[in-house]
Chain length 417, copies 4
């Protein structure tokens, strides 16, 4: 086991740990950990809601999840010698659930959850069709996930960090805040909101305190979106063995990581989210000095996925176009066409006995693939979603005999609101 | 070789063939070919511009391409016993360039082309950055493509039909026309246009003539977009061995196919388009009676890709978010985030000596993958584009030595206009 | 289509063709075809028994197959500039059944066969268990094979040439003849024989005639075994897109090719053999001058397989050790342990209703993998054979419900003798 | 972490542990651990030489390795309800090096070794060419292995247990002893020996003691070879996610496991062996009652490999035939043809600057594939060995520029003897 530079105790809250992490982006959150290029080290990561979600059959905790306090990030970690303009090489040496803890009340202790936010609480990709709060619990056996709430499926998780990135410079942060506020201002009362402005409430800023805490908390960016620094990219392919190249915007790079996922489908369409868990990540870091200019990577990470992702060779795929459910034609809207493809897949699964919520959860948690198949054929884009047939215990393909009927069991817990 | 039910002579124009196909969608275009469930048969397909594009070093032909006459589709093919409500099973038994014709003036005779439309002529996915008309020629050696206009790359083509589908019912056609016209009406003078309304000019309608031709030509839908019937989906994974399930809207299903591609990246981002070619496709058809209801597939094709797609195990991936190049924040716009990811990839390739146009052409023609990685993290979606490193003759990965420099050669032909 | 430098007419015997090939190895068989480094060209290939095997339900033709006349090779093809000591690069640009001929009496016209020789007639890998002559017919649909004699399986063929190689030098040929005769001499009356000595009977030697024919026929090596020049390697992974490097022993290299297979399992355990067919192969050639010394490749081909082999992600594997069926312990005998693994697989398949012969035929024809798993653990080697589960129409995995029962149908034709 | 039913302390010898395992096969070694069908549990495993091999630059420890004491197996583990005739389902839930111990003197603590035995001490697959004792040390970073003794290569390990199996019945054990002694008797003084007879010296038999120990020690089979019970199969594909089906010969099945490998090439050709390490394995067990008869699996394991093995898409392959280096023709000897293929690969690698020993070590430790390509083409079998090109830091393919030259560095340590 590499040296644990950022340890977490599963029995303590995120703010009571030996080293306190952060849940906002700001250049002035101090690095409390230092590593050198070439180092390999372990970082413990907290599940993104810091233990608020329980291993039970109720979705009330999802409905009342503390949205202001996410994501509980481990870091910042300073890399010696890193300067603005460099590319920070980060190798994901290993990543997994909480080691040596196979049961317990914290997601990552042998189990994880997938939630869907209620529309009033952030919503999800298909919030108009699924406006309530839902939750399913997944049990881990090695790298395989199954759920008492979703019978008939089991799949090899594609474990990855949902969120990793470097600190923004002051200039970059200011740019984020300006452009996101401008968007919010176009419809400030929208539910769910268009974006999340800085909010000192529930801010966690590492070792900061006093006036400096207040200043930074007022300015610091929320961690929900991916941005130029990487951040909450939710790319399921950042699996073990992946090499990522992050732009460096501040001295020391100030790397942070969190929001580990046991598995996820492309898009993390349920929003809350993949199969969420706490755990560990072992990283190796290095630098390409001046690499942002040399390779033209001034923003957003580039990466090379690992070579041990679960292999499936047979897929059942669904397509969608950019026409709304009400029949309105939109112009090359790939977001919409992916929604339609996902809805087609969910509808298909209901013919086998699944509830729509179960189908939705499968798409959110299993290693499905979402592709931008056609983006130019005016006015319709074409998106596609691919389900590996081998994750189902039964034959999920269309055939002359009609769909096999599963017993949906207790189904997906839903919040009463 | 299966029986050729729809033959084409490479030396004759599309309208001079033994059986004349069509370039519009309408239920009343008569089927001139009949097949039975269980049949395997060959259909010749014309390259989508009917030979207007030459194997030369000029893009003038792309600038002046006859947009009103696309796509030159082979069909309609009536399937005995097919009725509205059925699912039509179509197996792609084989598909390839024009057999036994390895050289000649027609795309598909040992070569193909990728074009980018000028903004005034339809544009492309990145039309703001690439407003002119461009063309590259690809040479085929077996299943491998190389280009005198794009040095340093060679790749195994993922051959597929860009367009296949069943005929719409009259009701469905009316719905298409209404919703697309409504979109056009929101900005009727836009360049490029938002959608393409019915246009009798250059319409080809099989065996129709006279008043019936005029009536149908005035109503028939253009073939550019994918729609409920499948159509121009441009899904690169409809490769050999793929099984597709199409909804049936009219008696006989009236299957049509065309727009063959030797290879394509996800999205067909160059618009004109993939590696375009004429060729042949061998199909097997069958029916699931009442399958639309049984499986909940009321629109858009579902499919199972073949198992001989080219395998690559190392990828270099680029990410993008939904912020415009001008810094404007958009709300969960996956179309935009894919544009940004593609622009990042192109910019990266220029560091190795490629011109931006060469980089763009690689993304359009090679078997790259475009994924909807994050679609819920307000306000930024995250899209990713994956390049197989093995298609480059040199090491395309970032490293301490800096990028290898290629000689871009003559580069990509551009129209003078 | 590349230029056909070695054409074959399906309606004529091998010896009546425009260019007559050969069925023996000798440096003095004249090259009648010349190509240059960089050329791409097509070679038609005859099925190895020159049409003696019929598409019927009898194995009599296998029992009486003309063993002295195999293999009907296309060549020799001289490569300009090739000299002893060079490496000849051969790219398999494409390979397939007889083009444009989907039905007919010749294997390769839409069908192929797998035979098992009777013990008295050459035997097979499991000749003690299967001492008679058997045959199954496979039908091709695109790249997929099915058989009326083996229900419940269908698989994507991994098309390849069973035999390709360069001509031996006179010295090398003499070495072959000496060492093989020495082996024969250890048990000259063995049935089946230990090796096949030169035999002028049924020899075909291209354009040779008269005394030169007689001299060469008396010396020329039979084509059954693989040797230093490549030859009958029966490597199923020489699929489309493969690059092979052959040692050159004579001026012009004198490349020959034949024995095309629609599919084969590792080992070609049925001997007669894979799915045999005639067809075509498109090749590209080039030279590495002096490459034998530079790369240390003085004998036997090295190669890089293509990247479009059929993909399967779930396998059921069987192991065997080097103990005979009679319980005798042998010392690290990987040949024996592979026999035992194959017998285990066949026995397993009989539990699902297959006859042993059907099981054997599946292993011989489907893309199974045979691996040398353990070769040092005295006294037992461990070999393994992997079956892709997806080739079966039913669930072939062990489970609590017991094996699904197929209807074996008419079964495998067997010769009456 | 599942419950650890068989714990090992890295600081204690195998015989000083809380539960003492065994290094011989015998039905009467008592099970000290009990599990139930459906259980998931952890078993710690000792590296096979119990710590005798050091992380240094000398091969003296390999020369003097305590061969009589291998393998240090964890078990027997009794499975409730298992009876002779059942199939024991074993799922490899997870497997890896010693958890949480990244450095230390025991193989498995962040490092492992590959050794080659001297000919006088057991030899190896290529002992005639490599008659001395050699050793290389591999360092682990996550799932990647590199070595200071073998520059220029790094690969993703395919972690697996080399040895796992059920206890033999008394009858089966007697059969083993009889047949192996019969083999030994054919050449009792051979070096290396043909097989290893029971030997009470260094026997470890769990909780047995006194006269019962002596009786069992005198009868118990050595663990070197794989046999009907599974045993030392050294199948590299028993990776995480694999399901294995073992025959049950005694009540409780008495499962044992050990000899973990961080990686291995097909065949484990170096004999001492793969990348050897201690570590842990998490197992899930279940039963198919009467499954041996139902599925015809009366001996040797059958298995379904996991789906997260490292993926490589480009391979360089070498072939060999059954002719000895001295030019003697052997009859269909796949063992010999694999030796020749491996020697070809090693010779090729020396052209890039590797020493022959370095080449040999790469084949022994990296995830190479060894295939039985042709087993019927008298008199030559054809075996092939496939190297993934991506494991090399340089371009290992043949090309016009000649082989890249590496610096072999200190090379492979060799024992002085």
């Amino acid at each position: 086991m590499p040296e644990v530079v950022f340890p977490l105790d599963s029995n303590k809250k995120f703010t009571d740990q030996q080293i306190v992490g952060h849940n906002r982006w700001h250049p002035d959150i101090p690095a409390q950990v230092r590593v050198k290029p070439g180092d390999v080290f372990r970082v413990d990561c907290r599940e993104w809601f810091d233990g608020a979600i329980q291993n039970d059959d109720s979705a009330e905790d999802i409905l009342h999840a503390p949205l202001l306090s996410v994501h509980t990030l481990s870091g910042p970690i300073a890399v010696e010698g890193a300067e603005p303009g460099d590319l920070l090489i980060v190798d994901i040496v290993d990543v997994g659930p909480i080691p040596q803890e196979d049961s317990g009340p914290l997601a990552g202790q042998g189990w994880g959850y997938t939630g869907i936010f209620a529309k009033a609480n952030g919503g999800s990709f298909l919030t108009d069709q699924f406006p309530d709060a839902y939750k399913v619990i997944w049990d881990f056996r090695g790298q395989v996930a199954t759920s008492r709430h979703v019978p008939g499926v089991s799949f090899t998780g594609i474990i990855h960090p949902g969120l990793m990135g470097t600190a923004p410079s002051a200039e970059l942060l200011a740019k984020w805040n300006a452009r996101e506020q401008a968007l919010i201002d176009t419809d400030p009362d929208r539910v769910p909101p268009l974006a999340l402005p800085p909010n000192p409430d529930s801010a966690i800023l590492g070792s900061l305190s006093g006036a400096e805490f207040d200043r930074v908390a007022a300015e610091a960016a929320r961690t929900a979106p991916p941005r130029e620094n990487g951040g909450n990219q939710d790319i399921k392919n950042l699996s073990k063995g992946t090499r990522i190249f992050y732009p460096v915007f501040v001295d020391g790079a100030k790397l942070s990581v969190g929001d580990l996922h046991f598995s996820q489908g492309d898009g993390e369409i349920t929003f809350c989210g993949a199969i969420e868990m706490g755990g560990f990540i072992d990283l190796h870091v290095d630098l390409i000095k001046g690499g942002m200019q040399t390779y033209g990577v001034s923003e957003n990470a580039i990466f090379m996925p690992g070579n041990t992702e679960p292999q499936y060779s047979q897929w059942l795929a669904f397509s969608g176009t950019s026409v709304t459910l009400d029949g309105e034609q939109r112009y090359l809207d790939s977001h919409l066409s992916y929604q339609r493809a996902c809805l087609h897949a969910i509808n298909y699964l209901t013919k086998f006995g699944y509830t729509p919520e179960q189908g939705y959860m499968i798409l959110g948690a299993a290693p499905i693939e979402g592709r931008l198949s056609g983006v130019v054929d005016i006015p319709n884009s074409c998106s596609t979603v691919y389900l590996p047939t081998a994750i189902f215990d039964f034959d999920v393909r269309p055939g002359p005999g009609g769909p096999h009927q599963i017993d949906p069991g207790q189904g997906v817990p839903k919040a009463s609101f």
